[in-house]
Symmetry: C5
């Protein structure tokens, strides 16, 4: 595990990753409510907000837009991803090498792990390559830890989320991004299982400010180290509003009422 507390992708030891791989993972539907969000330029501008410690994008978006923002944005290159057009066993192919990510200026790399899929084995092996290669470039590795597959009956159970996060620790991730487990207590179980590895909450689909901030506050209170958020930021007409509030909760120790 790298010590990432001095890395640009953390602030006071915590992270706020703005995730923007929806163009690949979900397609046009995620941009319908706020059409300008389809434009990577719009989102790079959003990512200049002080609250954002890293912007997570796929290779093509990174190499096209990052050069103009490299002074103001920390780049997390997501190394794998898949469209939602196909329908077999969950699997997320690697569409960028660590070497290429490093070349285009990545400050960190990300990898989606579908533990529970019958193709888990392949993903473990690809994660091994990613993790060992990333060590050579001193790049932190963030695992998108999402149990999925026919045997995973309920991916919202605390035990399942904790198991997914633990897999991150066991396989050598520096940060695991997991689903919110439903309460501060549940998030504590997840954090306890994760040892020294940092755990961040996944933003998920759009919610009200209060509901969303409350989940984030629970996570941080439970010992989690922040969040990775996409739709709950870029599907808002005015992203800087929610980012300012998240800044208070994630980095400044404020409560939900304090920031609302």
């Amino acid at each position: 595990m790298l010590d990432i507390d001095d890395s640009p992708i953390t602030r006071n030891g915590n992270l706020l990753i703005l995730a923007y791989d929806h163009g690949l993972e979900h397609g046009p539907v995620d941009f319908e409510d706020v059409p300008e969000s389809a434009d990577p330029e719009h989102v790079f501008k959003v990512a200049q907000h002080d609250a954002v410690t890293a912007l997570a994008v796929q290779k093509g978006v990174a190499e096209t837009y990052y050069p103009e923002y490299e002074d103001d944005v920390n780049l997390l290159v997501k190394l794998n991803g898949t469209s939602n057009l196909w329908q077999t066993e969950p699997y997320s192919p690697k569409n960028c090498t660590v070497e290429y990510a490093a070349e285009i200026g990545a400050d960190a790399v990300g990898y989606t792990m579908y533990a529970g899929s019958n193709r888990e084995g392949e993903m473990f092996e690809e994660f091994r390559e990613v993790q060992e290669e990333a060590r050579k470039y001193d790049l932190p590795v963030i695992m998108w830890a999402y149990p999925r597959g026919q045997p995973v009956k309920n991916d919202k159970k605390t035990d399942t989320i904790a198991y997914a996060s633990r897999i991150g620790l066991e396989l050598g991730a520096d940060v695991a991004k997991v689903k919110y487990a439903g309460s501060q207590d549940a998030m504590e179980e997840v954090v306890d299982l994760s040892g020294r590895m940092k755990v961040v909450m996944s933003g998920g689909s759009k919610k009200s400010d209060r509901a969303f901030l409350s989940d984030v506050h629970d996570t941080v209170s439970a010992g989690g180290h922040g969040l990775a958020v996409g739709r709950n930021v870029f599907q808002r007409e005015e992203p800087s509003g929610i980012l300012g509030k998240l800044e208070g909760v994630v980095f400044e120790g404020k409560g939900v009422d304090g920031v609302l």
Copy 2:
């Protein structure tokens, strides 16, 4: 993304790719109406027309005929392709390396992506290799972006076409070749989803001059950057006629009536 506006494969920022991989993809049937079109020499001659910014062919045709035309034709080597004799999950194997394409003089490379196929994962991974290798040779990468597979119910829906094009941007293509989406408005949606990546329209099966030029005009008006066309050129007895008209629409800002 490469800046291809100074590349030989564009003219005023737009492209007209003459696609000629039908011998591999479709076999003899596409050459029946105009038998001389079966002869690559005939098509290389057609490609000398000023309107054509690149000729897309498979490796074998490229290495056999291109040497005699290298002063007059820009070469786009199509790196994958498949016959239509087999019938399982859509997949297009790589039959030429980027290195070999560069060696035989390619100005750009092309790759067919069947997003939606259950073999999408393999194709994402092969595209990664192609894209990263092409960067070493400074060769633009054109993605033939064709969603296909059992889960893709309708590959003519605007959303599906836009999604396919966006995948090109996300994975690092420089140009995506997509199906015409049915109207200028629909093509605008596709272009909007594609960020800075250029989008060109696929010519498809043979149409009347007016109908075909009208689609191309919609595409260019929508912000698209031209087209890739095969049968609508080489299945005409006199290809230079339609090429002259396309030149007007694609590079000279003329309307359909203006060129007819």
Copy 3:
């Protein structure tokens, strides 16, 4: 495409390949009528006939017997092959590398392509490796172009044979070996689809001299460049008889009656 007109495997631009991979492809049954044909030494002696421009054998036979015949026989190493003992999707694994073939003295290499098989993709990819590697050694590549697989209803149709041959041109073969299409006209269609790539006829199972020579004559008259023949030579008690006649038809412009 290599210019093979100066290569030892052609004579006056044409080829007569003696194919002898039946021990691997068919087993003992092909040697029953003329038992000495099971002995590679017997066949190497046959291949010393002036009419034979190359002898096609598998790696093991090549490395064992060729050293004694290298002054009198041109060696075509067949790089893939399979027994007929198994029964799933047509596929022919590579049992010799181009590098090894070159090392043991090959003048050319051969590869069987089952277009239409659901494993066509793998074979396209392996052919890519073979073709690109062969270029490094300046070795001509002969494609055994045999459409096969459940979707290939009739591999004797002119269109199917022409498609198979065209695939050879598209993928970079120097010569395609195809089934006889049934008439001179049909062979012309095949040749027309094949561009500058040479097409040779496959000998197939044993026939009478007249019937066999007539097919060969049709092929040459149609613009084909000769044949690859196995059983129609080595299953005859006196191979030099038919070879003398083939020499007339293939290299000396004689008619069937002229040589009989």
Copy 4:
């Protein structure tokens, strides 16, 4: 086979491996009874006990915690592992290379082999890589020898356990970890089949002190060389108690009554 009697992972020729890969293999459930056992730090402290000759952990746990314990703990990096979330053919993917294990300080490496699985072939091949690579670093290889898969009706039969252990010898393992075969006689059969390769007993699920120590004593009396134990140590409130007793049985030739 390496001579491991001088290696730090043995003591008087025997081994007591503290296995702690349960976070990956089983998830949170194994830590429920003794919650602090979820914390790798707790287990590293336990491993400082003189009785423990090596601590077996996965890569991520190793690289995160081992640096602080390297003077007091011998590190066995488990190279493969899988979650129990998925449900197809038994297979354990490699999530760490030997090279990486060596780099982070491993004294030995471990690999789980599911002989009997229909993916046995892949595992044999991966074990080959592991074993040959480990030889370059002079690292002993411990095989977790667990027959598994639909054809394995009963993995507790003496013959099956003996076969599994023998596979370790045949494939080049230095130590095989096998299930306890039920009696000293049965363990003798296992040891007899294993030649010079050392055999250690797997601890399995938690038992009473007497029952557990009795199995261990049988193993050592049968010529086995110790044990690998996880839950029977870390699921006890006071691990040092049982470790002291195991020390007597495994390294000091004491009987069960003698240590209780």
Copy 5:
């Protein structure tokens, strides 16, 4: 094909390979009648008999025991093998590289080929690697030529055995080990199909001395070059008895009655 008549693994041009891979292929059952045969040391001692030209073992047994016997035993490392615990399509994974075999002192290498299996293709490809790599080390390659798989109705038919042996010649083996074909005449057919490649008989399951020696005599009389034998030697209480008799038949031209 290597000239192996001067190699240590032949004597007067013939071979007697003592095969001892049963611990991997069959497990404990083969050692039940003569328990000391489970101990590789016992079998290495047997292999010191003058009649044995090579001992065939798997990698682990080789590296553990061979160093003490290297002056008296010629080592044939079997490169692939499988347990009989699993039950799908016949396939034998490679568990040792040629390079590693050479490093531990191999005088020759062996590979099992299941022609007829639906995984024949993979095995052809792996054999290619083995054969070409072995040439670099000047190591003879012995093919265990065993047709197997659902399409192989009867692996004792002369034609099938002859076909299997021929595959050895075609793919570049130096020696093929085949089942006894039932009579001297049948073995002659096998030998005739095998060209210059040496053919040895496989010992198979235990028989009476006379029956076994008679098969061996037929093989040698038919032009075969000896045998590979396991159970018919090590399952005898006094292996040197039968070895002495085999020596007479295989190397000294004696008849069955002459040695009994």
